[in-house]
């Protein structure tokens, strides 16, 4: 009797793939039947062709289809949906949309299996799969909002949001500048003070024992609630938002830096003390580099926190510019597409900010295993 270990489990097409294949075919058949019931397909002719192809894909149960065929089917389907989309779509369109969705799912499942079997390279395909998912999400969002006539005050179509971004670049840019003034100033002050205080209390076991539990505790508190207080103290403009950001970013930096300063090994410290290195030499040449990964961890956490802090603080009162101000005021005026445009900018800015910190981290802590391995 042979035992199959988990590590040697044969990687075979799962039952899920058969089910998906069947469902793709059946939804194609359903769309075709609906087309026949409707009479002339008119402008939907490409979709009828796709439905016929999806129905034909049932042949996979007689003879396996190549991966390329499934890929072509899914891409063709996505293109057809966007091409035929209009207001108030009839029933066959929705059956076709389901078929496209299932076909893409099947494609992604097959691609993942091929990568796991090492028949496809990891590099472009590990990126293509999430991108495909994103495309399906956007196409589905577009098709449902426009095809079913969802009111734009509930959910605008991605194309409407994109159009809004293009027509209001000036406003978006001004808002971004205003908010990022607070983000960058607060981030620099909060991270800087946290780091300096960490070095200051590092020599005192007493202060570390007293401050660290408090610092970790504070990270669970809704610090964002100090925003109205800061608006009172520092006024409506960006300094009050910078103050909120500084307080929010201070504690993660403090806690992580203190942990990082303790990260250098006893053997390395002994080595340096055998060289008669003094405190500052040990700090600069051993302990700060060893603390690098911890400090960058805090910098990355804080990059997200800073943006959240600045945006939410603007909900409590701000001049008539800024991402948080725009979001809260346009929500009130039911300009939902502008809100989504602003959120898209915030997402982009947040990822870019994080990405810059991550790039600096790679350059500075190049020696760390987590960077070397990547």
């Amino acid at each position: 009797m042979s035992i199959t270990l988990a590590s040697q489990k044969p990687l075979a097409p799962s039952a899920l793939q058969s089910v998906l294949g069947l469902l793709v075919g059946l939804s194609g058949v359903l769309a075709l039947a609906l087309f026949l019931g409707m009479g002339a397909p008119g402008g939907l002719a490409p979709l009828a062709i796709f439905s016929a192809l999806a129905a034909l894909s049932l042949l996979r149960f007689a003879h396996p289809l190549p991966l390329l065929a499934d890929g072509a089917l899914a891409i063709f389907g996505l293109a057809v949906i966007l091409f035929t989309l209009g207001p108030a779509m009839p029933a066959p369109f929705w059956a076709g949309l389901v078929a496209v969705w299932l076909a893409t799912w099947l494609l992604v499942d097959r691609l993942s299996l091929e990568i796991a079997l090492r028949r496809l390279p990891e590099q472009p395909f590990a990126l293509i799969i999430p991108l495909l998912f994103g495309v399906v999400l956007l196409v589905g969002w577009e098709a449902i909002t426009r095809g079913a006539g969802v009111p734009s005050v509930i959910l605008p179509a991605p194309s409407a949001i994109w159009a809004r971004i293009l027509t209001s670049t000036g406003t978006l840019w001004a808002d971004l500048q205003q908010t990022f003034k607070a983000v960058l100033a607060g981030y620099a002050i909060g991270c800087g003070l946290g780091f300096v205080l960490a070095i200051a209390i590092d020599r005192s076991g007493f202060l570390k024992r007293g401050l660290l539990p408090l610092g970790s505790f504070v990270s669970a508190l809704p610090i964002i609630g100090i925003a109205p207080i800061m608006v009172m103290w520092f006024g409506f403009d960006w300094p009050s938002k910078a103050a909120v950001v500084a307080v929010m970013t201070f504690f993660p930096m403090l806690v992580n830096s203190v942990a990082g300063l303790g990260a250098a090994g006893a053997m390395e410290r002994d080595l340096l003390s055998s060289y008669a290195a003094d405190y500052w030499q040990t700090l600069m040449k051993l302990r700060l580099p060893a603390a690098g990964p911890f400090i960058f961890n805090a910098l990355k956490i804080n990059s997200t926190l800073a943006l959240i802090g600045a945006i939410v603080a603007e909900f409590f009162g701000s001049p008539v510019v800024g991402m948080g101000f725009r979001i809260s005021s346009e929500v009130g005026r039911m300009n939902v597409d502008m809100v989504w445009a602003e959120i898209a900018m915030a997402a982009l800015a947040g990822s870019a900010f994080y990405g810059v910190i991550a790039l600096i981290e790679r350059a500075v802590t190049f020696w760390h295993p987590s960077v070397r391995g990547a």
Binding site: I3, T4, L5, A6, S7, L16, W105, V108, D109, L111, S112, L113, A116, A126, I129, P130, F133, G134, V153, I154, L155, F206, L207, G210, L214, A220, L221, P222, I224, G225, I226, A227, P228, I229, V231, M232, W233, S303, T304, I308, I311, V312, F315, F316, G317, M323, I327, S328, V331, G332, V336, V339, W340, I343, A346, A347, G350, S351, F353, G355
Partner: protein, 304 residues
């Protein structure tokens, strides 16, 4: 004995807290002084003794920086001395925020665990969703809160015909769920993948079914990760519920108290709402920690 006391952590925390309170009182003097001097100037009072000046500065009605005893007194007055069902009671507002937090946190945790299970057991889900979930950690999702609250509120009251209060509750719960969902999903994916290959192989030699492997190996080894991410998630849920109370003209809840306080310059009210929110956060994290201990004991884990 004395040596042991001064070296203990609670003593150190106590000293640091005491210093913080002293700094707070000291800072209140210069921050509130200009207003106080204005009051004296209008009353024509000159040569006010310093002790009386300090006493007045620490007990203003609308100070720039309220002192700790003012905040504590306000919290005491609005919790112990008012029946909890009255809108004047902070307990009433705390409960409104807490109920939305708990509902959202429960939904978010269950969804997060469910998605993590899917990701760990399905290659396609892993490859298509995981990069997006990780990327979502870098974007300020709290910025979506006003959108969700207002749109949710309109849908619930308009299309679904709910009364305003349950509609507000549901919209806030959605934000809380959304904010606790991501940390839990990420933590659980890590946790469910924590078992070593050699342990999975051992279960395979026992010819354990996937369900048995899940319940006997993956789930128990994911629990530490689950509780760690639940602590992050519950704090995020509370922030979500508080921020969710800012738009829609909500009149109840800790977030609404913060906003009302900032409109009318009621600093003591802002600080007391902030303190109660912090106490809630501490209690929620404590509750997760206690649950963790209880579960660990039931599972026979050795105390770490």
């Amino acid at each position: 004995m004395g040596q042991a006391l001064t070296r203990s952590t609670p003593f150190a925390i106590g000293v640091v807290l005491a210093v913080l309170v002293l700094v707070w009182y000291a800072a209140a003097i210069p921050m509130n002084a200009p207003w106080q001097q204005g009051v004296y100037g209008r009353a024509g009072a000159v040569d006010v003794p310093f002790t009386q000046f300090v006493g007045d500065v620490w007990n203003q009605d609308k100070p720039i920086l309220p002192t700790p005893h003012q905040v504590v007194r306000e919290i005491w007055n609005t919790t112990a001395l008012v029946p909890p069902h009255m809108p004047r009671s902070l307990l009433f507002h705390a409960w409104i925020t807490l109920s939305a937090t708990l509902a959202g946190f429960g939904i978010g945790t269950v969804l997060g665990i469910g998605l993590a299970v899917l990701i760990v057991h399905n290659r396609a889900t892993n490859r298509s969703l995981m990069p997006w979930i990780i990327a979502s950690q870098t974007i300020p999702i709290l910025a979506l809160a006003p959108l969700i609250v207002v749109i949710g509120f309109n849908i619930f009251t308009g299309q679904l015909g709910l009364p305003p209060d349950p509609a507000r509750f549901l919209s806030k719960a959605i934000i809380s769920a959304y904010l606790s969902f991501f940390p839990v999903a990420v933590g659980m994916v890590k946790g469910l993948r924590a078992p070593e290959q050699i342990q999975l192989d051992l279960l395979a030699t026992y010819s354990a079914s996937p369900a048995q492997t899940f319940w006997r190996l993956r789930w128990p080894s994911a629990l530490p990760y689950l509780f760690a991410s639940m602590k992050v998630g519950v704090a995020a849920s509370l922030v979500g519920a508080v921020v969710g109370e800012l738009p829609t003209g909500a009149v109840a809840g800790l977030g609404a108290r913060l906003l009302a306080g900032s409109y009318y310059g009621q600093t003591i009210q802002i600080w007391s709402a902030l303190f109660v929110a912090s106490i809630l956060a501490a209690l929620l994290v404590l509750a997760v920690t206690l649950t963790e201990r209880l579960v660990n004991r039931r599972l026979g884990a050795r105390p770490a």
